[in-house]
Symmetry: C2
């Protein structure tokens, strides 16, 4: 009876969400989700910040607030931008978001007419594809090698298509591949975006979770023509349950984001913004991030060591320098969806790679998450997965 | 340089938001906003609920949660639905929203292709028009009389247009008019929606804030073919700063809302949902609502009495039975925008009525809010406004 809009034909339930429901079974060792380690949440400090805000300023914290966000929190975002090399940012250059997923929606909303192109990494973040599809774009997939997006392929596509609206990039510890772009590729991307007059969406949820080496300059810091829209989030360095992220972009673009924010949800929760801001006033976020890095880095090492030990040699995988995910590649003739079914029988879960491509999925990959499992479970899960893989490659 | 999508041509900054910025001047008596009375927020009880949730369950409250919302909070929504006459609701029939503004966006997102029609009351809520415009609908405006939407006009339009997707209605203490639909009109609306195969969006933010008489059955409670999508919010009965609302609709529609929720922001804040839910577990919301009613009812009376005393007889106004707003009508030849400029000079602010029409605005109305000003300021503000109006009608 209800006659839905045409765009609804494009939207399907996220396979990851369905897989996560399946893995609610506590006997399953799940590498499927992308959850931060809950045992690291600074609960006591959150309580202190919350009580301070509510005692001193409760009537403001529970009231409507500004569309662009709580000013002191926008000031804290300046520190985060400085850390990824972006200078000369003021609070006015920040739009607070209800998590960075909302930014993906807004980005397509302000740029995409049906049939316009979005360039994505191949593979790319599934949740971005779902958000973008609402606005009926076409996708151009550019392969990733060990240094980032392959620039020759990108330029070829930009040359051939004149209605490319933006290039979507997770340049640090990408979801799902765990790969990080080299500085050279970053600079080349900016050159090509300038040359072909295309915007860039830099999605940077994991950049501060670097286990080794130096943080690469963000694309926004290399931006010469105000083309890069930077999207950050407190989900991975503080808590995803509060739903707070931000945009940094040119004034012209921020003005549009402010307009769509009014229509979409008026504003992000005043309450969570003020408590987060108080937490950042009173605590050393850098020290907290270092704690997260120490734990994730160890878990990643345990996972990689176990994979070396238990996986058959036909199977390869990335060894990320940060973030939450790594990417496994099977021999071409194997389908990771079949392997996933076998793995679930052995009580191990992961996300088959096909979901991370808008079209022509490569089915011989899968994504593993290492952030939210204790080390002994990682070892045990990878051992079981090794058995499944040895059977599969036979 | 950025090439924005076509839909961005439809979006303009909300006049109300700009007016609100202007009225940040504390010397101005503002009847312009729609803020709940902050002095009534149950801050101490919020702190208790928050500390309980965080102490007992902090790791869950700061983690990702379900797309449809925190289950216990969805159970609390059942109580709210029962109160407006909707029975046989379960937690599975509820989708939690990041405020009901988000529901307006989702509604147009799942139903509207460019050029489809939305039927609205004339006047109607400005924020709804802004949300809908993103999806490029056309609007059909149906006048309101003292009993609700004029059904003859509605049927004429439904007969003439075959791509009407839904009828948007605030049937209780409407924003901006303060009007409430009679039971007879409600029943007739359902009949017409059934006859012409059209959905209904019932936006009910104020229904529980009734000063006198009985709560009218909601449209959803009169629904015979699962056509009504009910949208509720905790903004006016608890706090708008937490940004929590909900949908109740058919399974088929809820499934679509769940899909768009995933893309739009994954989920509403686990943190605020769990704290609100704990507050509702531990406190008597009915008693809290009664406190709000007592205060708003008194403020409304003070405003209406002052208007009778100070406004010239050429000016008429509604006398609402609940909610936050009333609606003033000037002689046809006067423009409320001109009056607003004069009023600001006298340090009084309101929203000119023209903003509440998608097209062909009637400019001889304005909206007054009485919820967030103390009684002496209301008296003083209306007195000043009376002087301006007496000058204007001369």
């Amino acid at each position: 009876m209800p006659k839905f809009a045409r765009r609804m034909d494009n939207l399907k339930a996220s396979e990851i969400r369905e897989l996560l429901a399946l893995t609610a079974d506590p006997s399953i060792i799940s590498f499927a989700g992308g959850l931060p380690a809950a045992e690291l949440f600074p609960i006591d400090k959150w309580i202190d910040a919350s009580n301070k805000v509510m005692t001193e300023n409760g009537a403001v914290a529970l009231q409507y607030g500004q569309t662009d966000g709580f000013e002191r929190l926008r000031e804290h975002c300046i520190t985060r931008m400085n850390k990824v090399g972006v200078k000369n940012v003021t609070a006015d250059d920040i739009q607070i978001l209800s998590g960075s997923q909302q930014g993906l929606d807004f980005m397509a909303r302000i740029f995409i007419d049906p049939g316009d192109y979005i360039v994505v990494e191949s593979p790319t973040y599934l949740g971005a594809l779902n958000a973008f599809k609402t606005y009926e774009p076409k996708f151009l997939q550019i392969p990733l090698d060990e240094e980032g997006m392959v620039m020759e392929d990108l330029e070829k596509q930009l040359k051939e298509h004149d209605n490319v609206k933006f290039i979507y990039v997770i340049s640090d510890f990408q979801n799902p591949s765990g790969k990080t772009w080299t500085l050279e590729r970053r600079k080349r991307l900016i050159e090509l975006a300038n040359k072909y007059d295309v915007m860039i969406l830099e999605d940077n949820p994991y950049g501060e979770l670097r286990f080794e080496g130096d943080i690469q300059p963000s694309l926004r810091s290399l931006d010469t023509e105000d083309r890069v829209i930077f999207m950050g989030t407190f989900s991975k360095v503080f808590s995803p349950g509060i739903r707070v992220g931000w945009f940094n972009a040119s004034k012209e673009v921020l003005e549009k984001f402010n307009l769509v924010k009014q229509g979409a949800d008026l504003q992000t929760s005043t309450t969570t913004q003020m408590i987060l801001s108080q937490f950042l006033d009173d605590n050393d976020l850098e020290a907290h991030i270092q704690k997260i890095i120490d734990v994730y880095s160890k878990r990643k090492d345990v996972m990689v060591d176990a994979m070396k030990k238990y996986f058959p040699e036909e199977v390869s995988f990335t060894n990320p320098e940060g973030g939450l995910f790594l990417w496994v590649t099977l021999p071409k003739e194997l389908n990771a969806r079949d392997v996933a079914v076998k793995a679930i029988e052995k009580k191990v879960a992961f996300v088959p790679g096909g979901a991370f491509y808008p079209e022509d999925p490569e089915e011989n990959h899968f994504r593993l998450n290492y952030s939210c499992m204790p080390e002994d479970k990682i070892e045990e899960g990878i051992k079981r997965l090794g058995d499944v893989l040895k059977e599969a490659v036979k």
